[in-house]
Amino acid sequence: MASDQVTTAAPRNGAFLWPDAPAPEQYEVCVHCGFCLEVCPTYQEWRDENHSPRGRVFLIQAAAEGRLSLDAAVVDPVFTCLDCRACESVCPSGVPVGHLIEAARGQVYHADPPRGWRGALARLFLRGLFPHPRRLGVVRALLRLWQRFGLQCLAQRLGLLRLLPPHLRALAVALPEVTARPARLSLPERLPAAGPRKGRVALFTGCVMDVLFTPVHEATVRVAQRHGLEVVVPRDQVCCGALQVHAGDRPQAQALARRNITVFAESGVDYIAVNAAGCGAMLKEYPELFRGDPAWHARAQAFAQRVRDIAELLAEVGTEPPRGRVPQRATYHDACHLCHAQGVRVQPRQLLRSVPGLELVEMPDAERCCGSAGVYNLTHPEMAQTLLTRKLDDLPPGVEMVITGNPGCILQLRAGLAQRGQRIAVRHTVEVLDAAYQQEEEQA
């Protein structure tokens, strides 16, 4: 072993100079076995070790230990990662690849804050828009104007949409119809349980989710109430911070987390219910944002323990099978942040299997990312498109509906299906369930 070829313990004054850096105890557990390679969507496509989980962790460790500087060698692979966590599901050694990637992005954010028009755009959305419910309200109003007064059709007819790059064009067309008010304001602050109360739950409404998917919130509340849950909708809650964490803007995410932790602590509930997998994973991982801050870390932990995905929560409190029918052939797509980040796989399927008439067929590799991945479809359209195509190719023949548990996936899949001209509906798990209960009530 010539000395220049041996890796030995290196000083810890590496390329990560800012607080909240990737934690040694997280990257050091990687044993370089490679079990994670074949589940990683970017490795599957490029087959380049740089863009594999093992490669990314290796490069992060090299930077942390001062063997690499924080340049393209580390930055590119860290940003091509989808943060889909498929690697974590197989890793026998328990490497939290997602946290490492997010913390590394935090360092990049400090070292090289996004500049130019991209930077401006990122700041506009991540700092200027998502964290501010009122500004989101303005966006909602504009979107509604666009949709309701036929501007969307007009723009389509005039070919204005062609000004957008193709992937954005598809997304613009696939946007669901925006309702007048967000669930955070349109729903009463307190909704009683139907029948004997099994618990109190606070609904997490989110930012984009509550602009585009207000009906999913309404469905969530109805199904929860029906199963003995009293629902509260805290008015002062804010965006979960996931998009900021993905972009490396940890200070902003920490500010949002503190606000949410405080607001939900005041609500005194048993559970915090989330119907967006990305937000749910983020909320459960709040402690990760406060590694260096024991007081907030403890509060974050207490908060995280109460967070449940809606499917998880329903399975926990028990549901009665609906009697209304949803006679469709459907398939279930595992949202990455539900199956890999939260380990929720069985519960949604169980709930869906209880719906009369619904024929649930499995698609191959249901757990593979659809390419949505937060804002990845905006930042890396080429890879996102490839993954979307693979996902759509995998849909079993004859399905009329794809069901999933994350708004990002719903948009992405709808955009893809619209592009292909395929008439397949995309629904949230809880919407399907709600539809069955609604039907039951109509029959009664």
Partner: protein, 509 residues
Amino acid sequence: MSGTAQVLDARLLQALLQTLGPRRVLHQPAHLHAYACDGYVAQQGLPRAVVFPETTEEVAAVVSLLNQYDVPFLPRGAGTGLSGGATPLHGEVVISLARMNKLLAVDLENLRAVVQPGLVNLWLTKRVAHAGCYYAPDPSSQSVCTLGGNLAENAGGSHCLKYGVTTNHVLAAKVVLPNGEVVDLGATYGDAVGYDLLGLLVGSEGTLGIATEITVRLLKKPEAVQTALALFDRVADASDTVSAILRAGIVPAAIEMMDQLAMQAVDKSHYHVGYPPDAEAVLLIEVDGLAGGVEEQMRRVVELCRQHAARSVQVAQCEEERALWWSSRKMAFGATGRISPDYIVQDGVIPRTRLTEVLQYIADLSRNSGLRIANVFHAGDGNLHPLICYDARIPGQAELAAAVGSQILRACVDAGGSITGEHGVGVEKRAEMTYQFCDADLAAQEAVRLVFNPRNLCNPGKLFPTPGRCSEVRQSAWLAAQFAAVSAGFPEQTRILAPDRQGRQDGVY
């Protein structure tokens, strides 16, 4: 990691870019670090470049170019090798076969498949499963390692006890020789006429050429399979059970053993079985074949386990249970990360009958060196995988672990076995080659290499000890000192384990 990459000749780079296009050549230093090592991380180096050919012709073109410029190179599959076979220590150009991952042809009638070398082992099985077929050799890394890497390492696996290792399943191969020439070796049906050159290539660790198309044998899935999990209070009872089963004329598809520390590691991972904390050993025994026979064989296996003081024997009741048991075994190496920051996995082979004594020796070595050692192994064919746990941050521990590993390998040779069962020699076990072979043996093997690889450009520095290099000498001197230090703790064992070079041995450990 060596600091700077060897410089790539600008004209060579141009030529490579012209041959493969810009997206299939990595040459900027920033993009090379991830290729510094394979699954064996103790030694690392930077390649000059990494290239991603997609056809035999492209591999041949690249190899010819590299010959022209006198630049060393090495093939790489998934980089899961555990002996550093795909590690560029001399600035080699890494020829990644990961993009050559097509299933080229399947003949289900004749049970043959032709694959590109970058196809992942398990994918082949998945692609033919619909017809009730599978590819038998199943290294624990089968979900990621490539068939090319399997060929080069003559990979084994849990089920190789009954079905044989890679060499028994590779029938023919298209090979780019180290000078860029393309040859076909072996025969799809029957025996290749003349010398068995394919047999030579299998297990040559990338030093004799690059396989670019491989014809393999497929098998029909056995009609029935049953799997038992037997827990033992004492390792000795488990070893005796293994011998008893084989002596009884039963050839199980697999017999795998794990010791307590390995059980603890996997139980901390996603692949949690819930092993009791006080069982010394667990055996995973699988029998397969015709339904009636399997039933009967399993009955006898269970009986034999009981006769040998098994604390409990369970037969898997459903496919999920069986799959979990197997995952827990197959993920054991990786799960070692749960109990130790670093580890070396060794790969010695011993006659099965000496299992108990060698395990005792390993336990003593562990106690004396202060390093924990977990054991996971293919018990049926005496292939040990001691996992030596250490912490690289503690100065001297990496070297101590290497010394302990080396000591274990020597014990295997002394017991009448070998320094590698399936992971290969690579760079890791070069020094131990001199323990297993005398100079004349090694010279004969080198002569074979020179026939294929006369300029030594193809994966240089692997497989053979290179005593000429001063770092190597320093290393062996250093290791010798470490042995002395480790062995001083238990002179009794050392005496017995250091037989004369004729390999004679007397006494028990």
